[in-house]
């Protein structure tokens, strides 16, 4: 038994130590590089290989990018300027950017879609950022009508009479609610439909004859380019989230009929390729509609894309719902919250939060899927790229157009991805 190591003598510190700088190789860039790039021979090897690959890629692409031509009237002119060297011909973008962005929208009216885009961001702000005053949400609710009117134009009374339909629904709901709750819901659906079918049209034309206000009408087939991607993408995104939530709830419902309808819908839509649905929208739907009804192709496409995205959305949200512990439902029940209040206040905020990555994934996927519209003769950007190539001046140009279109999509998709990460960080209250 040895007790030489035991602390037998009592000890009191006389002088306190001042804090010192950590050793040089423990902080800052040196430490970071050491830990993250050269922490072992395997990592060092991977780092070197990655650097070589990056160098190889850059050295291949950068001369082509740097040696680019921005001013030329045709591809042959570009080639003449390049004189045999390799280089990009971005002159095509300078020449045709307006078509890639707006399709055949009348150039003197470009301010309208641009204003619609600016207002879109204004309308989105209060939805995306809670710091913006809640009153701004009223503008967000009105935006679909403003946006429609700016892009398509026509009589101002059209969006207004449509909007009034919602007011009619609200009034009907409040009036019938005094009698019966369920009847009030039916009234709230029936009244606007009747209004739109029978009242809105005559009212619009008589108001228009009294006071002809409005913007020049632009036909749907003139709208194209990135504008159409935005119209279709934004509409389908904002409609598919609520529809997806309802489908997810329906699928969980105890009511057999509702559940069956939701399951069949989701499984059907998920089981069919999007392009089939789009062809159906463009070709077949007209056979099923009563003769004489002209149902705008863009509207049909928005509906199909919404259905498509909402089926995926429903499954993503169902995953979020399944991740919630049963105790949350029980606590909500025990406090006396009814089904809708429990869903709105307790269940959905948590389920949606869990599902944010999946939801945004679906959004991004769908936004990019709008390029499939090229197959049904809608002038989305890829269709216009083909059209530009059909021009003898630009026959044979590919990369420059695709890079431009790719960059446009990338900006918006990357923005969505960043926003979702911001939102996840902001909503992180579980402190696990």
């Amino acid at each position: 038994m040895s007790d030489t190591h035991a602390q037998t003598v009592s000890y009191v510190r006389q002088t306190m130590l001042a804090p010192q700088e950590p050793p040089r190789n423990q902080t800052g860039a040196v430490k970071w590089v050491h830990e993250n790039l050269f922490s072992g021979w395997l990592n060092t090897g991977l780092t070197v290989i990655s650097l070589l690959v990056i160098f190889w890629l850059l050295s291949g692409i950068s001369p082509w990018l740097l040696n680019s031509v921005w001013r030329a009237g045709s591809l042959s002119e570009c080639r003449a300027i390049l004189d045999g060297t390799s280089g990009a011909c971005f002159a095509v973008i300078v020449d045709r950017w307006h078509q890639l962005l707006f399709g055949f929208y009348p150039p003197e009216l470009y301010w309208r879609p641009v204003l619609a885009l600016v207002l879109l961001f204004v309308a989105l702000a209060p939805v995306l950022f809670t710091a913006i005053p809640r009153k701004m949400l009223a503008f967000s609710a009105l935006y679909p009508f403003i946006g429609y009117h700016l892009i398509w134009g026509g009589s101002i009374w059209f969006p207004i009479t449509v909007l009034l339909g919602f007011g009619v629904g609200a009034v009907a709901y409040l009036l019938v609610k005094k009698i019966n709750n369920l009847a009030a819901i039916f009234a709230a659906i029936l009244a606007p439909v009747l209004w739109w079918l029978f009242v809105a049209g005559p009212l619009e034309s008589s108001l228009h004859s009294i006071m002809p206000l409005g913007l020049d009408f632009v036909r749907s087939d003139r709208i194209g380019g990135f504008l159409i991607s935005m119209i279709v993408g934004v509409s389908a995104i904002s409609l598919s989230l609520p529809l997806g939530i309802l489908l997810a709830l329906g699928r969980q419902s105890d009511m057999v009929f509702i559940k069956t309808v939701c399951v069949v819908f989701i499984e059907f839509i998920r089981g069919v390729p999007l392009i089939t649905l789009l062809l159906f929208a463009s070709l077949l739907l007209n056979f099923f509609l009563p003769p004489g009804t002209s149902f705008d192709l863009i509207l049909r496409v928005i509906i199909m894309l919404t259905f498509f995205a909402s089926a995926y959305m429903a499954e993503v949200i169902r995953g979020g719902l399944a991740a919630l512990p049963k105790g949350q439902y029980e606590a909500a029940d025990a406090l006396g919250l009814d089904y809708w209040k429990a869903q709105r206040l307790i269940i959905m905020p948590q389920a949606l939060k869990i599902s944010i990555p999946g939801i945004v994934n679906t959004f991004i996927g769908m936004f990019k899927d709008t390029t499939l519209l090229v197959f049904i003769a809608i002038l989305e950007p890829l269709a216009l790229a083909n059209a530009i190539r059909a021009d003898t001046n630009w026959n044979g140009i590919y990369w420059e157009l695709f890079i431009f279109i790719g960059a446009l999509f990338f900006i918006f998709c990357f923005g969505m991805s960043r926003y979702s990460m911001y939102l996840e960080r902001k909503l992180k209250t579980d402190h696990r």
Binding site: G327, D333, A334, L335, L337, I346, P349, T429
Partner: protein, 267 residues
């Protein structure tokens, strides 16, 4: 037979002056049966709880204690018999269910706080949305009860930032904010460390001292000894024995009760 030694869970003297059992019936259960599929969980349960009673329910795992108290606010549905809470019979009528639920508070083993809401919001949510109380008033009530459970300073934190004992006290405060007339507890301390068990029991005892009608599923026999006026022992979905605590612990009648008590009290 030696009397088992049961320690009081708190260091203070318990004030029994407001613990009064009245003649008014708060909960009446008659001939109640429940099945899970073919499994008969609750068998012919008969029970009357008067206003002001503090009842402790104990029994081995799987004996149906949770199921019984969850039937009282219809978190579980019974298939036969009658449950009347505060004069309202529990049937499939949603109005009755909502009425009973807003009068009956419940505290769970795993707290079940809403993790996306702050402590204060947890406490004001139901008063605002169910009772339609103005936000400011609801917040005042919430602060009042958070003070009562001794954690007003945590009001603006989130549940995930609190210890288990604190979370359970918030859960109690959240129920109290609805001003319930009856409180149900389902093993409120069995997910907690000993130190935290004490603070939660302390809160429950002060609730009992104010005359709250309470039904507690718990194995904290000290608590039962201190505040319960009746202990119910369940086994295999049936009420096997019930008595006032002293007699229950010192002189159990049935063999099952004796076995259970010897295990739980360590004799």
């Amino acid at each position: 037979m030696t009397e088992p030694v049961i320690e009081l869970p708190v260091d203070r003297k318990i004030d029994t002056s407001h613990m009064k059992v009245t003649d008014e019936v708060a909960i009446q259960i008659t001939g109640m049966n429940k099945w899970y599929g073919t499994f008969h969980v609750l068998r012919d349960v008969n029970m009357t709880v008067n206003r002001g009673e503090r009842i402790v329910i104990c029994g081995p795992s799987g004996s149906g204690k949770s199921t019984l108290i969850r039937c009282i606010n219809r978190l579980e549905e019974h298939q036969a018999g009658q449950i009347i809470v505060d004069g309202t019979e529990l049937t499939s009528d949603l109005k009755n269910i909502d009425k009973v639920r807003s009068e009956v508070g419940m505290v769970f083993q795993h707290f079940n706080l809403f993790p996306h809401l702050s402590i204060l919001e947890n406490c004001t949510l139901a008063p605002i949305w169910v009772r339609k109380i103005p936000k400011r008033e609801a917040e005042e009530t919430a602060m009042h009860f958070l003070e009562k459970v001794k954690i007003p300073e945590q009001a603006h934190k989130f549940p995930g930032q609190l210890s288990g004992g604190q979370q359970q006290r918030v859960a109690i405060a959240r129920s109290l904010c609805m001003r319930p007339r009856i409180m149900l507890f389902d093993e409120p301390t069995s997910a907690l460390d000993p130190e935290m068990i004490k603070e939660v029991l302390d809160t429950m005892i002060s609730l009992a001292e104010e005359g709250m009608t309470m039904l507690c599923v718990t194995h904290e026999m000290g608590f039962a000894q201190a505040v319960a006026n009746r202990v119910i022992f369940m086994d295999q979905g049936q009420i096997v024995e019930q008595n006032e605590p002293r007699a229950f612990f010192n002189n159990p009648q049935s063999e099952r009760t004796k076995l259970f008590l010897s295990q739980i009290l360590g004799h």
